[in-house]
Amino acid sequence: MNILEVNDLSKIFNLHILKNKKIEALKEISFTMKEGEIIGLTGKSGSGKSSLMKCIYRTYLASSGEIIYASQDGSIDMVKADDHRIIELRKTEINYCSQFLSVIPRVSAVDVVCENLFRIEKNKTRAREQAKEMLEQLGLPSDLWDAFPVTFSGGEQQRINVARAIIAGPRFLLIDEPTASLDARTKDIVIDMIVDLKRNGTSVLCISHDEYTLDRLVDRRIELQTGRITAVEMDGVEV
């Protein structure tokens, strides 16, 4: 079964305040993704990887085309779906982990990680225990668990970000550069965690520049160049 089908997607930014300047970020993007698959999105900076991911998550509104997501209640076009339906899906199925941590100020690291978990684990103490376990695995010093992540280093923030995205076991995960600022050992731990998710049925779309991460993590790759798909790998063959 396909969990995602993207058909002829395009995204044009129309910047009214810059005299209607138009920026074409994505052109004629079409691909499908099987349930339980991990796809790596590759390509140079500015090639449209993050834009594609944000269109799928509806942070960006696509200009044309469709993004058909097979939700547990049936197929839905993420381009046209009602806002409330999208909010619902974000709470129950789809998770997006951006490249940089953006958090609500004055929330402790543990509670940031628990954000999605609190929805399914009503016992807050138990949820926090689970979050601490994960932060322990990721090697985040325990004296940081109750501190506010805003002041953390890049690598520390990244680990919080990844932990928050995967702790509740989403059905579909969009993850942008999960290993970028991590040392080799932590990188392996993060990769193992995402592979574990896949074992439990999660489908993952992952942006990465890191060959090592891509090699270990993804089933196949899709390469973007100036907003178009230039290469798709199928069954180990590039087509």
């Binding site: 305040i17 806002d83 339906r85």
Partner: protein, 282 residues
């Protein structure tokens, strides 16, 4: 869509407020296209027009726009502080959502307001009676909702003050002797005293120090998470909107120019005016 289509808590359709004498062209000659909300023919002022949206249980909706865009008018119409010119609003827990609450009798409006809504104003003087003690203010709301037991009322008042971090020892002091942030927290206690499913917040952090602002915002977030109250947050401050809301409506000259998920409005604003707002964010 299918599953959640009928799950709304508050449904607003074509809500309109016009001051002065409008004629048949008033609505067609005002709004963002004309960069004005004053009718060129009759000088009628269109405070807001054709405002329609659905609010779901537990959802937080933001309304942004510059001063005079009609943001506050929308919530004040819904809280019956003003009379609408046209439009309707339905509230699920009242009459199964079948009655236009804006056309109910004053007595019924008072019932809806006391039992099903809370309001926090920018200026604590609008929401609190400064001649009463802070506990008395909370009691006022509880009494209006039909609670007559003094012991219970005092118990609930101290519980609320504790929750909002107002020293309970000061329950019998008047809010005039409190700091601005504390007055705001008393106002919030009063607004949520009878566990309403719907809370309106009108520029509640405007004019407070940054650190006090932070505490008030944290309190609102906590209440939302713990009690699951649906909220309409009116603010000109996009950081407040970003921190509190799931969905946002952008108003200009009394009309909705854009509505969408808050992250979409902030990262991919479509309308010229929303783009200007977002690019002005520090």
């Amino acid at each position: 869509m299918s599953r959640t289509d009928d799950n709304w808590l508050l449904r607003v359709r074509n809500l309109t407020k016009i001051y002065g004498e409008p004629n048949e062209n008033t609505l067609n000659m005002t709004g963002p296209l004309f960069n004005s909300n004053i009718c060129p023919e009759t000088d009628a002022i269109v405070a807001c027009a054709d405002i329609s949206f659905d609010l779901y249980p537990g959802e937080v909706l933001g309304i942004v726009g510059e001063s005079g865009s009609g943001k506050s008018t929308v919530v004040r119409l819904l809280y019956f502080d003003m009379e609408k010119t046209a439009g309707s609003a339905f509230l699920k827990p009242y009459n199964s959502g079948l009655a236009n609450i804006l056309e109910e009798s004053n007595q019924k409006k008072r019932f809806i307001r006391n039992h099903l809504m809370g309001m926090v104003y920018q200026n604590p003087r609008d929401g609190l009676n400064f001649r009463f003690s802070s506990g008395g203010n909370i009691a006022e709301k509880l009494i209006m909702a039909g609670n007559m037991n003094v012991g219970q009322i005092r118990g609930r008042a101290s519980e609320l003050l504790e929750k909002t971090e107002v020293p309970v020892q000061r329950m019998d002091d008047r809010p005039s002797s409190f700091s601005g942030g504390m007055q705001q927290r008393v106002q919030i206690s009063k607004a949520i005293a009878n566990n309403p499913p719907l809370l309106f917040l009108d520029e509640v952090t405007t004019g407070l120090d940054v650190s006090v602002q932070a505490k008030v915002l944290d309190l609102i977030r906590e209440l939302q998470q713990d009690l699951g109250i649906a909220m309409i947050v009116v603010s000109h401050d996009l950081s407040v909107i970003r921190m509190l809301t799931d969905r946002t409506i952008v108003l200009k000259d009394g009309r909705i120019v854009e509505s969408g998920l808050t992250d979409q409005i902030l990262q991919d604003p479509q309308h010229e005016y929303s783009q200007l707002l977002v690019s002005s964010l520090l």
